[in-house]
Symmetry: D2
Subunit: 354 residues, 4 copies
């Protein structure tokens, strides 16, 4: 497996040579490659932790990426440039920051229509909504199934937003892929390799949530199952991991966004709603996701959260969603990064929409 | 949801009345029931943590079980007595302690035959062997599939041991259930509800491993998916959870065995091989599993571990397996608990078998 | 313990009354209080989880804070307004965002002087530097002790920056407090109650790092030990918790910043250097800390990281520190929040300083 | 750092030679040493993970110990034989299994006297009791301090049992060491290096609890702080680690007992009371600790748990303690291991003592 040493954009030729000498001194040869205006040294050898640590500290070196041993198609060694996944006409992974929003679960035509219209006008680029819900208890609401898929198709037509929706059973994949512009694999199926393989063959981009107990490497290896089927369009989504802290449902691991983007060329979204499990934390965590370098966020919105059939406590109200997009807009302006679809009218739409 | 207060076998009537008075003082009424010679007070009300804490400390009270809100068929409130699952002619969950053993993965006729003969003579009551392997990387050995199922069927015939083997794809379930005496759901599919439901309909007992990030309650709720399909024969299996400790692959949570058996009537096995990931830890952890009250252990055995295609470092050698069974035998004797199938000849069989 | 319901700034009187009715229906009475222009309903009763969940979903309700049972002086119930801690002339906890920077360990006069000058010119408001280092191994460099304190005093005089430095032994507290403008309690002593109490009596503000295994509640209870000694000046610092993820040294828990600031009035900093353990992650995580609402960051800077005696891999180079402050400046501009001390000249200072 | 390969007691000379050849093939030379009747190969080279994995799988090899890089005095490389710590006249770490029992906190002369008499007659070899309690909240009962030490001294005289009690402040160490036969460092001070060093100089054995977030290596490095002061008498105590599982207070990590005993020659106890936080789990977990190979257990006992001032829910009643010792006795008989002090009369003593 190759090691990739990224040199600083402004480093001098002597700094590059110095790094090459250090490598040669440990018997490693590297090829110089210029990517996006920066020199990268890519080795032909397997990674060596001690060397990597030494290289990291040399002047001019920006980063040293050691792809974990098993990564292939998902690794920067395979593809150094960022992958941009097209979800219908929306680009995920490019410069614009993408907001995916909608109800956790599709509950009814009225609920979905109200939410879809609201988030479309409010700045979302993609509509989310679950029609097959993997619930911890068999006695909880399990989603509307095919009926829900029909409602999602209606709202895609009505709003023009592409749709992402979850699949939990390989047998439903054909129906889901017919409607969905991106097929979601949830955290509980993050190591359901049968489903991952099938999703890789369904002809649609795949949104792959991180398993709640998956390391970053295991998450990327799950992506390999999709990529190995010939589907290059995988979007990763960090959604919180299990830890001992009880004040949030999961511990949102924003470091993992940085690590995943260093190891892999795939775009990474963040889902603060499922991580926190509380609406009050969604806005600050979504802002942090933008600041850390994620390619977008995915949030739960519900016209009337107190009546939601699924994860009621974590959905933003329409007003909360507007506040979120307004705050994201400001923050991204400071980072010189546009919000995808931000040309759509926004602002005083709350009154209009309610 | 009901609360169950188990009184001490030798408590007096005044102690029972005292508990009832404390309950009445907080507006809870309970029905007296005698199960296995002990009085149990079962409330008609929902559980109340504060009351439970108080009751636990009263003289004569042995345990207070509060079934988590969502548990139904798996809970002691539904069924107070231990469930005994028949895996072919082997009882799991009764007094005899069950040893399930075999290779992590079925690799060849010779490898399986050698292992099966060895463990059958050495004290195993059930043969394990994976033919469909859920591997973290798509580039690792994925199992022999249907060919492996055929080899398992052969060895069941040859040794008389019932067979447990994993299923990862609902589409394979019919084939697996034809051969398997018990169908295993692995830790990565522990919240794959589609597979759990299908397994519940396959007509065979189900061995349900705990998800590596599942709480005990979530594990039991996964069992509910199987039970709710009308299949009462679920065997739970603790196999280690994710923690920060790096010296073992997972952290074996033996407390969970006690907690699961208090909340639920289902039998619980322990898999020390996958938890530790190192053969050297298997024997002491298996002994601890027996001491903590598990109904059996499931261990990896391989005729030549250094050549194993899967999880090589954790398999016991034949000699290691003999040492394990000998040590279990002694320990269980101290606990006055028999080893299932212990009437089979054992002892100086190592030489004979090699 | 009281529950605090914060109403939306723009909610109507009927919304407030509706919340009061819901409370009254469960037998809870609340007093209306206006804080910072917003109505708060503060109960005289102990917290009730179920009620809190219901109240959270009512229209007009912004947040429901349930102070964990044991919090007193640190809780919002005790003091609703944000506490601003004065570290010499620098305000921590007010509107300006504070950058604390310096070497992990004070190693020599030259090393400290170079770093201090650099960070002072580069935008730091407070100088950090450890002179007593709690090291996992007794055979690692343990700090310069009193000699290092002297060097810190010199650099405070030279740069005008107030100084924060760690104490590990109650016997050193008098010396440390003589030099330090803020005394740091590290993660390994986060539940060393003797040291916390003594620090509370030392007459200087206390920077309290979160224990690597402390819940937010336990962290605030540690702060109570300091506050209970009559010292109101506690600054909290999130620095990562233990989880199963191996790609970073600790998992930075930015949700905890939000939770701590909701439960408590104390300011909260974030230390991305010790959390990540890798210089490459410091900038994105520091930006995320600003976005999530922290009051500042604390980062390791070293003139030549490859020679550092402590945690070499995580220190920013001077150039890396400049990039961090520039990026923070932009981001905070988008959030309409100033950088503390940002009137100092910056920008093309790198050349000048090197 | 040296690697230690322990050969099987009954392996042949060809097996030993084969291992030596494999080592020589990777350029490592080893010295043969016979310890306790078994051949050990101890290398003069630094550890090599890949080699260790290969050696583990060779016939005749029982275990391969690679001391983590920083371990010195605590490691098997430093001392291959088990250390036996004398706590007054009680040996901890030898063949007999030791039961340490007593109240979590010393509350009064009557409470301590009743408990001490009970556990002394019931099979305990050492009396425990906290007089300085590190409590998460400053508003909880903090222990009787020096008064409690006096009560412990009285009960040592009355029962003849040596006493272990916790120290939390270096300033109290002299007083504590005067009374205590073994000084305890608790989990919250497991990385309080000041206290560890002072304890190393106090002239008494030290019972070192594992930090609730410490890896096994960090735990042993904490022990190095004591050992490096010239005190060889350290007893380790596993007491549960932080994990995501909420049904127990901590997750008891029994694998860590095996790992610690492989890496280190120090004795290891287990505290199931503080790990589980529930009296109902203490007996099964204590049995598991014995089965896994711990050198003893430490349990909370209280004459009337419902009135305990500290951790009431986890204390065994006198009757519960008797059941525990009886069960341990049987289990250890199966393992051919005696209970320390088991010559003392036991059995129908409950009636006598109540």
């Amino acid at each position: 497996m190759r090691m990739i040493v990224a040199m600083d954009r402004f480093c001098g030729p002597d700094e590059i040579e110095h790094v090459e000498q250090v490598m040669a001194g440990t018997d490693v040869q590297a090829v110089r490659t210029v990517l996006e205006g920066r020199t990268h040294l890519i080795t032909a050898e397997r990674d060596r932790r001690a060397l990597a640590s030494r290289l990291r500290l040399l002047p001019g070196v920006t980063s040293v990426v050691e792809p974990p041993g098993n990564l292939r198609l998902s690794s920067r060694a395979h593809r150094a440039q960022d992958t941009v996944v097209k979800v219908s006409d929306v680009s995920v992974g490019g410069d614009p920051f993408v907001v995916v929003a909608g109800p956790c679960a599709v509950e009814s035509r009225d609920q979905l229509a109200a939410t879809a219209r609201f988030v479309a006008l409010g700045g979302a680029a993609v509509l989310r909504g679950g029609s097959y819900k993997p619930r911890t208890s068999p006695y909880s609401f399990q989603g509307l199934g095919r009926e829900g898929l029909g409602l999602l198709a209606e709202q895609r037509a009505a709003t023009g937003l592409p749709v992402v929706t979850e699949v939990v059973d390989p047998a439903d994949l054909a129906h889901v892929a017919e409607v969905a512009d991106m097929v979601q694999i949830g955290t509980r199926n993050a190591q359901n390799y049968t489903l991952l393989r099938e999703a890789g063959r369904a002809g649609k981009p795949v949104l792959l949530k991180r398993g709640m107990a998956s390391t970053v490497e295991e998450w990327l290896l799950a992506a390999e199952y999709v990529l190995a089927e010939g589907n290059p369009d995988v979007v990763l989504c960090e959604r919180g991991i299990r830890s001992f802290e009880p004040s949030t449902r999961f511990t949102l691991d924003l470091s993992a966004v940085v690590v995943a983007k260093r190891l892999s060329h795939l775009p990474v979204l963040v889902d603060p709603s499922h991580a926190a499990g509380q609406a009050e934390l969604v806005r600050p965590l979504a802002l942090a996701a933008a600041a850390v370098g994620a390619d977008g966020v995915m949030v739960d919105v519900h016209p009337e959260p107190s009546t939601a059939l699924c994860d009621a406590g974590q959905a933003l109200t329409p007003a909360g969603f507007d506040e979120l997009v307004t705050a994201l807009d400001s923050l991204l302006a400071g980072m010189r990064r546009p919000l995808a679809g931000s040309l759509r009218p926004r602002g005083a739409l709350v009154a209009d929409r309610l």
